[in-house]
Structures are given as C-alpha cells and as structure tokens.
Symmetry: C2
Subunit: 228 residues, 2 copies
Amino acid sequence: MPPVLHSPVLEALGRRITGGELTAGAVLTLDGIGAEFEVSRTVAREAMRLLEGLGLVRSGPRVGIVVLPHDAWNVLDPRVIEWRLAGPGRASQLRSLTELRQAVEPLAAACAARGASAAVRDELVATARRLRELGEAGHGDGEEFLELDIRLHELLMRSSGNELFSALADVVAVVISGRTHLGLMPAHPEPEALDAHEAVALAVARGDGAAAEEAMARIVREVRGALG
Amino acid sequence: MPPVLHSPVLEALGRRITGGELTAGAVLTLDGIGAEFEVSRTVAREAMRLLEGLGLVRSGPRVGIVVLPHDAWNVLDPRVIEWRLAGPGRASQLRSLTELRQAVEPLAAACAARGASAAVRDELVATARRLRELGEAGHGDGEEFLELDIRLHELLMRSSGNELFSALADVVAVVISGRTHLGLMPAHPEPEALDAHEAVALAVARGDGAAAEEAMARIVREVRGALG
DNA sequence: CTCAACCATTGGTGACACCATTGATGCGTG
DNA sequence: CACGCATCAATGGTGTCACCAATGGTTGAG
C-alpha cells in the first residue's frame, strides 16, 4: 500500500484542470499553489512537474504555470481518464472510451482465444455462467455482478498477450465501474448481453478466435447503443 | 520550444529501465543518482517522481527507489513507447503497437468518414494519389513517402472526432516512422497497399464508413503480415 | 527465535543564489 | 507633446543546501 502521501495537490489541480474549472491559458504560480495547499514550494514544484508530464500544464520562467488546451493532454493516462470521468463532460468521455473499447476489445478477445491459459479459460466460463445467474435473478445492478463483469473483461484483455491491451484493462474496468455507479445498468440486463458474454467465454475456451471477436463486438455494440 | 530539458536524468534512467539494463527489483538511491549525474537530490527527486508517474519505479522511505516489473509500466505513454522502441525488444514492441493499430485504425477511419471536414477529405485523396505516384516510381522507402504516409494516417485519426484516437495518432506516426527507418519498407510497395490507401481516402471522401473501415483493415493487415 | 534499538534513506521544509523574461521607466528625438 | 527605443528592476521558475521527521530493514541482545 503506497502511503499515497506525496501530493493531494496533484489530485486537486488535476481535477480542477480536467474539469474545466481552470481553462486553457490560466496561470498558476508556485507560491500561489504553496499558499493555497499549505505546502512548500518544493512539493508544489513536484506536483507541477507531474502535471507537466501529463500534458496539462507547461511552465516557463516569468510566465508562470500555464494551463494547456485539452488537445495537449495525455488523454490515455489512467489518472487523466479518472479525473475526466469524475468531472463534468463525463458523458462525452464515456462515449469516447466506449468507442475505444469497441475498437480494442474484440481484437483482444480474438487474441485471448489463441493465448489464454487453461486456468483463465476455466475462470472465464465460470464467470460468464455466474454472470448469467445473477442477471437472470435481477441483480444486474449489484456489486457482485459489477465485479464479475470487470473480472471477465480484465481477464480477456490481460490474456491477449499484448501488453498494450493489458494496459487498457484498467481503463475498461473504470468505464464499466463508472457505468453502473452512475446508475446506467438495469437490474435485468438484456438477455442478448448475457448470451454474448457467455458466447465470448465459450469461444475463448475452445480457442475460436473469430467467434470470440464477433461475440465481443456484440457486447460492446450493445453498450455503445445503451449510451445513445 | 520546451526550455531544453532540465532532466536528462529522466531520459537516461527511463531508457535504462525500459531497455532492461535495470531490471525489476533493482534499487536506486537519490544520492546515487545525484552522484552519477552530478545533480542535487532535489532534481533527482523530481526525475524520480516523473518515473514514478510513468509506473517505472516506486519509492519509499528506507527502501529506496525500486524498479517495477514491466507490467506496471504506463506502456501507453508516448515517452515509454519511444524509449522501448529505441532499445532492445523493439521488434516485439513494434508487433504490439501494430496490433493496437489493427484494432484502432479501421474504426477511426470509419469515424472519420462521418466527421471529416471538406478540407480534410480533399487532402486525403490528394495525399493518397501522391503516395501512389511515389510508390509506383520506386520511392516507397523515401522520406517524402514516409511523411505523406504519416500525414494520411494522422489526418484520419485526428478527424475521427474521438480524442482518444487523436492521441494515438502520435503513436501511429512513431510506428510508421520506425518501420521505414529500420529498413522494413520496400522501395516498391505492394500495389495492394497503394490501392488500399487510395480506397480509404476515397471512401472517407464520399462518407462511406464501412468501405473506409474495410480498406483500412486491409492496410493494417498487410502491415501486420509484413512483420511476420 | 523474538524483539527492540539503531540507522540509513526518503519525505518534506525553508532559505538562498541564479537567470531569463517581461513590463515599466526614462531618456532622446521629431 | 508624442512617439520610440534602450535600459533596468521586479517577477517567478530552476537549482542547491542544510535540516528535521518518519519509516522500515538490519542487527544485535536476550
């Protein structure tokens, strides 16, 4: 457990910028940050460096710390994604992320069908089965359903054999989690969705990449449709 | 112009870790870094924070700065990608990245067919045409071909209307660039590839998303095949 | 073998020197 | 009086140092 002590400053400023409270062109100063958060210039500087690394700000002598326009941001960084999902504009963010899922997850599933270990294949089928049980029992909006849903997608991404897909597993988890916590999940999921989840698990289990890809495409298409 | 780089330390350590010279579990100390690069503890700490933000290391009191295993890295960060492409293992990195392209670019092309501006549509077809000319003239491995190829893919990604795809445009540019600079491009590109590039440009120009997606899929599949 | 004291190493602070940039001041000229 | 140019001081990031607090591995004692 990281003592997560270093910088609540980073969190606060990050959310403030990604949330639009601080718009592009706004300037900060180290002293101002230090004064507001009651920290020394050193930690203000460190937080600023982190923000700079995320592409949120840029600093120069005499000019201060300038907030950058959103197209300079590292929008693929998990922290930025989380901040943006927490602030206003989370709807558009969710749409963008789902579009990314639409692109990546089917291929990841196909890869997983080739590369997954026996243990993973078993867990996938078991997870999909339990998911169906919970869904048909009307717990599609529950905590356990959520966890298993995340687990299934995470297993698929991480078994794809592609580290870039693995890295996107966190993103997918955040998206799924955000979707239910925002109350967008029905207690009784579409039977189609449950079928598709089971289909992808079974397809991966028997090594059928094409079927896995197709089933996963159905899942994400359904999700995308639910967002409007 | 970024005020030079106050931290060549970041570059050096980043490459050393991503290149495998410093393996997971290795420990560094601030004083050690400061001594090697002749900088103060403060800037060593800043560089360390950046590295921590990239998921390359983790630091704690008394334990030092510990290098993390590669599955904790922020592999989607442009800096990490660049470092890994420069070091050993660039072949596997290229494969992973191409797989990501395979997932993203077709969908991005489909989106671009819906959202691109008139100016972009024009530039796309012009670029594809010039690409064909150069390719048929045997300059498929030349600098101008490379630039136009990057330009075409970048235009498509950035016109997709999805900021996440836009952010991946840099990655695609790096991959394409790396491929030719590693001498993997033939002077006479496959006619199929030229056809596909022109097809995707024309499809986007006339707003045919499905055709654009299919043509782009052909392009990336061909690239993937060329990598073995 | 267990536990407590030790101490190395990071985390954090404040003060200081340095330097580039910028905006204002001031001088000269028409 | 107005305009332009050069000089200068204020500002704010960059880097260094010395210092103290917290912490957790190490080691030595019981």
